[in-house]
């Protein structure tokens, strides 16, 4: 019981953290490439993947995209960020599952960034019915390297701090 409450608080905190990070990011100057952004909210997803089971991670991603969209965006932005978020979560989950010992969180977040872009661009191509949008992909791949590096390093640092305080709900749920 006590553990469940702790876990619930931890999940809510990750959702809140992701929302605040999205907001802070919207205040920063935009990168002058279509669809490119820092992806600070991904820090929360990477942290969640490292400390929680998959179901809780999915819950966090859906909750944060829905809430951020309702507060700062519109219906369209919810569709875009949710597709990107869920796809990137799946990709990062698989990478962690299959290659955790080979790759660090830096690679995990780079892969996450790339699949986030793939998801968003895919849905944009569908909604705007313009396959030429795919021309933006190479630029987004390149941008994913520095942004993924940043997000991965920050998550690594935070994770070290969390594991010192025994924040790990993967096995005791």
């Amino acid at each position: 019981m006590k553990n469940n409450t702790k876990k619930l608080v931890y999940i809510s905190m990750l959702v809140t953290q992701a929302m605040i990070l999205s907001y802070i990011e919207s205040l920063l100057p935009a990168i002058p490439i279509q669809g490119a952004k820092l992806g600070l909210a991904n820090i929360a997803t990477v942290l969640a993947l490292s400390t929680l089971n998959f179901k809780s991670c999915l819950l966090i991603v859906i909750a944060r995209t829905l809430l951020t969209g309702l507060l700062f965006g519109n219906m369209a932005s919810i569709i875009y960020s949710m597709t990107g978020g869920v796809l990137s979560l799946l990709a990062m989950y698989l990478i962690i599952k299959l290659l955790r010992n080979e790759l660090s969180l830096v690679s995990v977040s780079i892969v996450g960034a790339i699949f986030h872009n793939l998801g968003q661009l895919g849905i944009a191509i569908l909604i705007l019915s313009n396959p030429k949008l795919a021309i933006l992909l190479p630029y987004l791949f390149i941008i994913a390297i520095p942004t993924g590096l940043f997000v991965g390093l920050v998550s690594n640092y935070l994770l070290k701090y969390l594991s010192k305080n025994n924040f790990n709900y993967k096995n005791n749920r």
């Binding site: 965006g73 932005s77 660090s104 780079i110 705007l128 992909l137 190479p138």
Partner: protein
């Protein structure tokens, strides 16, 4: 950071460069250019893009407005009613294949060859 992280970054970079090469081949070759503005997949206007084109276009649907300006051989969006303003921050487009997208308003401003 591990050694294999660097390998992954290199692979990503190589894929990106190959993609860039392809898009460059696709867009190379001097030809007359035009600006195509579409709203939600439907063509709203086509304007030839030359050094002397000088036009301000008001793209309006359902109360959403994007102001598009064409001058000195390039096209840009100077004003938009969308919440994120990404289209306004995007650098002007002046080459074949380049585009400026406003996702919230479903507006695409695209530079293509005139053939």
């Amino acid at each position: 950071m591990k050694k294999k992280d660097l390998i992954l970054m290199a692979i990503v970079l190589i894929i990106a460069v190959i993609g860039l090469l392809f898009s460059h081949i696709y867009s190379s070759g001097a030809a007359e250019l035009k600006v195509v503005i579409t709203i939600d997949g439907e063509v709203f206007r086509e304007i030839p893009l030359t050094e002397d084109t000088n036009e301000e276009i008001r793209v309006e649907q359902n109360g959403d407005i994007n102001i598009v300006i064409i001058d000195s051989g390039a096209v840009r969006i100077v004003e938009a009613t969308c919440p994120d303003q990404i289209c306004v921050y995007t650098t002007p487009a002046d080459e074949n294949g380049e585009m400026i997208v406003c996702l919230p308003n479903k507006v695409i401003v695209e530079v293509t060859r005139n053939d």
